[in-house]
Symmetry: C2
DNA sequence: TTCTAAAATTGAGTCAATTCTGTTTTTATG
DNA sequence: CATAAAAACAGAATTGACTCAATTTTAGAA
């Protein structure tokens, strides 16, 4: 069934994303003009808008790539967590944080976060919310796993705890991308310190 | 010393803010055109840009009004907190949440949040970060107070705990303003449920 | 192969934020 | 009071995201 049209379409999608990723990194999100992306991808401006509702959605496609890789990497930790609550949390969160700047610069993250709050009902806004939820779910899954391994108390409200841990980490990550000078090790240390309070409360 | 120039300046500032607040509420942030704000405030477009770096900074001035009132109201709770850790937190956070939609609509909050992450170094971006920090400090102050009253364990890391509580609340608030259908009582209940885990860990 | 409808592409045009430049108003000074 | 420097103002010009009507390309039937 792979007709000419479908192949061309996939190819144009790829070219647009590649061009945008390159220009976003080089010139920043605002600095990367749609005309320039169109020229680099060898399509017209109109075609870009045929494929994406707006400039933000192009960035959104790149963010999705990043977060889905992170979720994938996280599955390993949930399946076989370190035998200590603090380490287990730190390992999972470490994966999220360490991976975060692989495809996206801080500036790109800032734009992505801004757009997702500005336009929560746009395709990208909804996708971003879904990604957040998926990360929250993965943290919840880790807690369930730790409860099954009798490392976390059975009477803990796992759903609320998962949200609490994700929300705190996410807010710290937002502050992290807002300050260009902020470093990854500091971020991890700060989150670890905050989680220590929780670990004391929930560990068996 | 109050020369004509200074008085006119203050007056123009006030007129611009009033015009913007009205139009933002009526037409939404995007819908309120700078030309319309200028016309309503009886100044020219150029003058607005002489007073504010960009449209976002106008919104920023309004947000500051709101948050400073909230901080003020919070002081009362810190000074005389309810004699129960859970209630004390709930009362303070309740003030923040209940007050939040007084001057600002959800749409205005979304824009404000978006701008503060998008341009963290703009005047507004920095002011917003300072406001967040002030709220965090107030929560920390409440915890100190509760420790002094022997309602919270002395060995708790108050700084980390304050951040944890603020970050979680703030993230919940962000999700709240992103969903127009979300209601204040639900938000308060969800945050209370999350804080319950912490309260169990820190109460004497 | 030829033709037609549907799908996709194109780029000139629109709209609104922001910038720029010349003009007006205020202040300070003699 | 005059007057020159400084500050503030006005609104036309610029810029860049996004739209839309006209054109081109593809798929499939005859």
């Amino acid at each position: 069934m792979s007709g000419l049209r479908a192949r061309q379409k996939a190819d144009r999608h790829r070219r647009i994303i590649e061009a945008a990723a390159e220009l976003f990194r080089e010139a920043g999100y605002e600095g990367a003009k749609i005309e320039a992306i169109a020229a680099q991808a060898e399509v017209s401006v109109g075609t870009i808008y045929n494929y994406y509702e707006n400039k933000g959605d192009i960035l959104g496609a790149i963010v999705s790539l990043e977060v889905n890789e992170v979720l994938n990497a996280g599955q390993g930790v949930v399946a076989r967590p370190p035998a200590n609550v603090g380490d287990a949390l730190d390992t999972l969160i470490g994966i999220y944080i360490e991976h975060s700047l692989h495809y996206l610069s801080k500036e790109m993250w800032r734009q992505a976060m801004a757009i997702s709050t500005q336009l929560p009902d746009s395709p990208f806004g909804q996708a971003y919310t879904a990604l957040d939820r998926a990360l929250t779910e993965q943290i919840r899954a880790l807690i369930s796993r730790l409860q099954a391994l009798a490392l976390v108390r059975q009477d803990i409200d796992g759903a609320a705890l998962g949200e609490l841990i994700f929300n705190n980490m996410n807010m710290m990550f937002i502050e992290f991308v807002k300050r260009d000078a902020a470093k990854i090790p500091e971020l991890r240390a700060a989150v670890r310190r905050q989680n220590r309070i929780l670990v004391a409360a929930i560990a068996v």
